[in-house]
């Protein structure tokens, strides 16, 4: 099972520049790919293109050797679990009910949850450490608990691919690390993972591959050390940086203050 995307081009308005231009990507089981890049570089657009929620000007997406358009929405939901950036909380459910929404793609129109569904929901909650919060209303959760609930809901879909759009945007250090640890563990257990993030340093430490987008195009793709080089990162983000190495060998990007530029900053490479 692999996800292949070839030469994707997306244009939101007919005259403007494309939001995504000639982007190709592949993703396999047991692999975590981090999608990074400046604001407006096309990360979320690429995610939407991979999910078929934005029309392609050209290119094709294939999941498990089947064109994306040939996937009915319910079957696709059983293959790809998504944790989107935002969602409405109009009528808050309990945590367990929220996670069980992930089973809808498996259920008939009027069928009640069966034994299998209950087991999958319980297992998803266990993996995301939510057992204690089962009966809590979702509007009383902390941001970290809410993200874990949404990840558990995606797991309850029993997907092969997990996509997360900036899942740690509003989280403090501990909750952020917990989410990255969880995602890495899920990928090590066999899922294919695609995570959109602004955290270059966590991407470098957790992802197998990094895809760097700039103005809708791929500016670099490969292992974290191959992509997160000083000249590349500084060029794409239009800000001077230094790159050092953490003890596990992963590159760590340090943005520089203007007065540190040219003063021979701590550049390890």
């Amino acid at each position: 099972m692999r996800l292949f995307a070839q030469h994707l081009t997306v244009r939101y308005s007919r005259l403007g520049a494309p939001a995504l231009e000639d982007v190709s990507l592949s993703l396999g089981l047991g692999e975590l790919v981090a999608l990074v890049g400046p604001n407006g570089s096309g990360k979320t657009t690429l995610l939407r293109a991979l999910l078929g929620t934005v029309p392609l000007e050209s290119g094709r997406v294939e999941i498990a050797q089947r064109a994306l358009a040939a996937w009915p929405s319910r079957e696709l939901a059983r293959m790809v679990g998504v944790v989107p950036q935002r969602e409405d909380l109009l009528f808050p459910l309990r945590v367990r009910e929220t996670v069980a929404l992930g089973r809808y793609a498996h259920l008939g129109p009027l069928a009640a949850e069966g034994e299998v569904d209950r087991r999958v929901v319980a297992e998803a909650m266990r993996r995301c450490d939510l057992e204690q919060l089962s009966e809590r209303k979702t509007d009383t959760l902390s941001s970290g608990e809410w993200q874990r609930t949404r990840i558990a809901r995606a797991l309850a879909q029993e997907p092969k691919i997990l996509m997360l759009d900036e899942p740690t945007a509003a989280l403090d250090v501990r909750h952020e690390m917990e989410v990255f640890e969880l995602v890495r563990r899920l990928v090590d257990e066999g899922l294919a993972g695609l995570i959109v993030t602004h955290h270059l340093n966590l991407a470098a430490r957790y992802a197998d591959r990094v895809v760097l987008l700039s103005r809708g195009r791929i500016a670099g793709e490969g292992t974290p050390s191959a992509v997160l080089r000083r000249d590349v990162v500084a060029g794409v983000f239009d800000w001077p940086v230094a790159v050092t190495a953490w003890s596990d060998g992963s590159p760590q990007v340090v943005p520089l203050r203007p007065r540190e530029v040219g003063a021979g900053g701590p550049d390890a490479r």
Binding site: R48, T53, F91, G102, Y104, A105, A154
Partner: protein, 327 residues
Amino acid sequence: MDALTRARWPLLALAAAGALLVGVAVGAVPLPLAAIAAALFRNAGPDAAIIRDLRVPRVLLGFLVGGSLSVSGAILQALIRNPLADPYILGLSGGAAVGAVAAIALGLASAWALPVAALAGGLLTLALVYRLSLADRRRMDPHTLLLAGVITNAFTGAVLAAVLSLSDAARLRNAFLWLLGGLSGASWEAVGALALYALPPLVLLLWNARWFDLLVLGEDTARHLGADPERLKRLAYFATGLIAAATVATCGMIGFVGLIVPHVIRRLWGPLHRPLLPAAFLLGGAFLVMADALARSVARPIELPVGVVTALLGVPLFAVLLRRSLS
């Protein structure tokens, strides 16, 4: 809460049955249970005609209208993603009202012409608002839909005011009473006609109930979880539109039922639509039948418009719920 949770379905069924019974017993001529039983089961007794031809169709019509409006309100709250949505928010009732009041003003208000005119007005508005709501190409946008409904309501309101101000006094009073809503026109034909228009959309909505849990989360999230938002939005729009046009055509505009009942049920059953919709149907039906019984009996022999009673009962009830949920 646990005992209440276990007992809530039997209690609701009991309330619905009780409301139907009270609705048959209460009225200009109060009837004892024995007379009702005799009329229903043996077609005997002096009041058999009142019961079988007036009271029973009236409570059935009330139940069907109250239940349909409540389901329709719950679905529109999910479609527009706004807890304040009610069955009339998309302007269809205004179109139906213009059709009906125009018929009254033109002196065409016979028993069969009035509902036909109202239904025609409602369906015409249904098509118009739908066309306005299609955002880019073929995608239906709930915000544009809401806006289209609001401006349509404003427009039909103006047309209504124009028609009313040009009508003579007797017709004005008729039109005014019709606008307030009421079940006094109930008959077996009306029950049959409403069932014909309202039951198919109700069944479709119940059949798809679960997917509305996902639509509430937003269209993208709904899609990621396996729903087809475009199909759901169209289903919700046309089903609730047909219900609004058909109910307004049979008994005018009856407010507050469709707004309040879904909120009451969410307190008791939670927001999941699979239990919410059938429970809202039963409670909405029972509520409107009880409101109609009150409307017929408090100022006997004068009948209050039932819409006045639903508002007088519904608003305080809603205020209490609101306080409870805040404390």
